[in-house]
Amino acid sequence: MAANGIEVQKISGALGAEIHGIDLGGPLSNTEFDAVHQAFLDHQVIFFRDQKITPEQHLSFGRRFGDLDIHPYAAGLDEFPEVLPVIKEAGDTTDVNFGGTWHSDVTFYEKPALGSILYALDVPTHGGDTQFSNQYLAYEALSDGLKATLDGLTAMHNAANAYGRNGRTDKRFDTTKQKSMTVRVGDDDEADAEVEHPVVRTHPETGRKSLFVNHVFTRRFKGWTEEESQPLLKFLYAHAVRPEFTCRFRWRKGSIAFWDNRCVQHYALNDYHGQRREMHRVTVVGDRPV
């Protein structure tokens, strides 16, 4: 236990640490905030156990890190639109859950999320874990030749696969089967609008380089067709989530995960049909990737 009463325990070799000795229900002292912030930068995703927080407390913790986002497609709480309920009911028979594929959040924005803070209100007895993958390690493990090539490339991202017509939400997130969340399908202009991001981004706080493509929102390399882009992108998506870059977090009621969206991808496992899972997500707005 450190002198300030805060303990940080790594959960895998790649990334992720549990932080003990902090109550997120109360305001954090500057010392506590600095310790949490440093652990966040050092471990890319941090976890807290046995927390009991209200939406207001969740929002104030998020605001310590920046402005908060209102999700453009999935509806937030009526009173607190920045709090996004992520729910799968026991009766939901959908084979698609929210976040059930490797991605980083909202990279179809010009300024994608800095990070997301997910709080577990109700979890299955087993199942419903989340996996995370360290994109610093993904970049560093590439050959020097491919690193040099990717350093010069830009990728186009949009929301079409996830939220456009015939996208994941439209085709498979069937609102007749999945009644627990309200997720809107965007019109073509909105969902197809592309934004560009460097394929390799430099983290604004740590200065480290990370791989910044994901198969949900990245469409192609800038100046290339989708067909030309597919082979290399497909390789990168698979490489980015090699087991030795990952950790897996098992939730309990009251657990909180806070991941750095600038250098982490994540995946919500959909292996708990017949059981209920309710989470609240608060998303902190980030910088324009460079």
Binding site: S12, G13, H126, G127, E244, R248, L269, D271, Y272
Partner: protein, 283 residues
């Protein structure tokens, strides 16, 4: 069934369960072993914590499942040749079992299961992931299922796509002394869809490490479909992840699971004892 004496808790929605209430250093009475065996069939991977056992006690437990085999490529312990030491030292870069696979599928009669016991593990890292091959098969389309039940596949011990087994083994300081370079390359043909001899359930019996082609097809012809199936088999929804501590013992059913050892602990040491249990010829 007698009243259960063990506490059995699933690890994920896909497979794996942690069992408490058993001391594996002691002979297990038949009723207790029957519960363990049932959990093994129900959950495919069973995990025991805080066990303090000798190689002989590990062998005695393994014998409850069947006959321990001798692994062809690595010499066993002098006092217990069926027990193989899996060791990655502080200076090793690559690990043993780092790719998704099931054990010894290049043998005519691949292992029924494996009993792995942790002696030394890193503070964080060195987990093992498992994937449920019943779910992998069950989630395919009916058309693909029908096709696969007509196919057989060739499995090889050579690991040619990664420069060969010998190149890997002599690069692991912790294991090169025991490597039997003279062991012949093994190859065996098995059905792609295996019917489990005890549960009757069908599993997708392929793995990226050992399966090289469909019988009667070229490697080039086989590659696209094999690649799809090996990728499908390890979808996160079909998996669990076990974090080890000294004294953790895991038994997995090799006929319906894949596993991979996560190599994320550079500079740290990990030492395990492995016993494989002889299986039937897959059908």
């Amino acid at each position: 069934m007698p009243d259960p004496t063990l506490d059995i808790r699933p690890l994920s929605g896909a497979l794996g369960a942690e069992i408490t209430g058993a001391d594996l250093s002691q002979p297990l009475d038949d009723a207790v072993f029957a519960e363990i065996h049932l959990a093994f069939l129900d959950h495919q991977v069973i995990v025991f914590r805080d066990q303090i056992i000798t190689p002989q006690q590990q062998l005695a437990f393994a014998r409850r499942f069947g006959t321990p085999g001798v692994y062809p490529f690595i010499a066993g312990l002098p006092e217990a040749p069926e027990v193989t030491e899996i060791l990655k030292t502080e200076t090793d870069q690559i690990n043993f079992g780092g790719y998704w696979h099931s054990d010894t599928t290049y043998m005519e009669k691949p292992a029924l299961g494996t009993v792995l016991y942790a002696h030394e593990v890193p503070a964080a890292g060195g987990d093992t992931q498992f994937a449920n091959l019943y779910l992998a098969f069950g989630s395919l389309s009916d058309g693909m299922k029908d096709l696969l039940t007509t196919l057989r596949a060739v499995n090889s011990s050579a690991q040619k796509d990664r420069g060969g087994r010998a190149r890997k083994m002599i690069a692991i300081n912790g294991m090169k002394d025991g490597f039997r370079e003279e062991a012949e390359e093994l190859e065996a043909e098995h059905p792609v869809v295996l019917t489990h001899p005890e549960t009757g359930r069908q599993s997708l019996y392929l793995n990226r490490s050992h399966t090289v082609r469909f019988a009667g097809w070229t490697e080039e012809e086989s590659a696209p479909l094999l690649r799809f199936l090996c990728g499908h088999a390890i979808r996160p929804e079909f998996t669990c992840r076990v974090r080890w501590a000294p004294g953790t013992l895991v038994v997995w059913d090799n006929r319906c699971t894949l596993h991979q050892a996560v190599n994320d602990y550079a500079g740290q040491r990990r030492r395990m004892h492995r016993i494989t249990i002889d299986g039937d010829r897959p059908f």
